[in-house]
Symmetry: C2
Amino acid sequence: MNEISASINEELLRYQAYRLQDLIAEMLKCCEGRKLYDSGKFALPYAELKCLMLFDGQRYLTVKGIAQKLEVAKSRVTKLVKGLIEKGLVEQIDDPKDARIKLISLTTAGQKKSEEIDAFQKELHRKILLQMDLGERKNMLSYLELLRSAMEAVKEDLV
Amino acid sequence: MNEISASINEELLRYQAYRLQDLIAEMLKCCEGRKLYDSGKFALPYAELKCLMLFDGQRYLTVKGIAQKLEVAKSRVTKLVKGLIEKGLVEQIDDPKDARIKLISLTTAGQKKSEEIDAFQKELHRKILLQMDLGERKNMLSYLELLRSAMEAVKEDLV
DNA sequence: GATATTTCGTTCATAATGTGAATATTTTAA
DNA sequence: TTAAAATATTCACATTATGAACGAAATATC
């Protein structure tokens, strides 16, 4: 009896694992499409767009700081910032207190564009939530949180 | 009264949208890390790995077919297949019925590697599910399905 | 104060992911 | 038979990213 129930359990688990894998893959694809859309809509390579969105209540950022937030190499940030400067969205000044450091900040155009992007992204997520009713939304977020925690826990063990 | 409740609702929705955006971003990051891990573990660029996993019960695939499944340009597939051939994981033969077409299939080594990857990925998702109890797993999958549908519905409208 | 070490940003070589136009070859339709 | 369509490849280009090497400036050590 114990063995049979264990076997059924294993079978269910296999099915659920398959389903989870599939759902995650489809969501990833969906997010990939959204990236492309955003990138086209705002005429920015997506990495530059993400970089722009880091200035959120923060007047100045450094290359190092941006690299940490984006979790990329500093050399990558140098290139991203160069692109954003060429597009007139950010500007660089030398830190008066430390000549090694360059302080990067949004221009007026950059500020405006970042607000546009932010508004668009918020609206997008709002629309997703509005596909559900109140109770579903609440539960969905809870279970998504649960999944995220589970994924991160497994990721920790992976190393 | 109606106005007040509507305003509270809007406030809640804003908070939930923020939370959803955050959760999705973290899950994306987690998946990105998993891609890197898989890629390193199986000594394959991730795109080649995905390509390898398409032979699942299917003996032969064509460049066009792979391009459709991966949703990339045919020229991309040409390069991926070239890489997999160099690694001895797939092989190409001319279709005897149509000289334009090249039939691509797994080598023995490719078959073996693809099974290894499959087993590893199944185990990974199994571990994620095992972070939860039976009821949580079932609900989580339902709500993830709901989210996926909502995301795709919104994406449809986006165009 | 002089020297060694660390920090910060840049440049360069390299790799992976991907598109789209042009091309060659073969098949199918007119 | 000729025109059109399908299949795969090549090439130029764009984006995302890393890591080593480097120069300049700040900090620690002697």
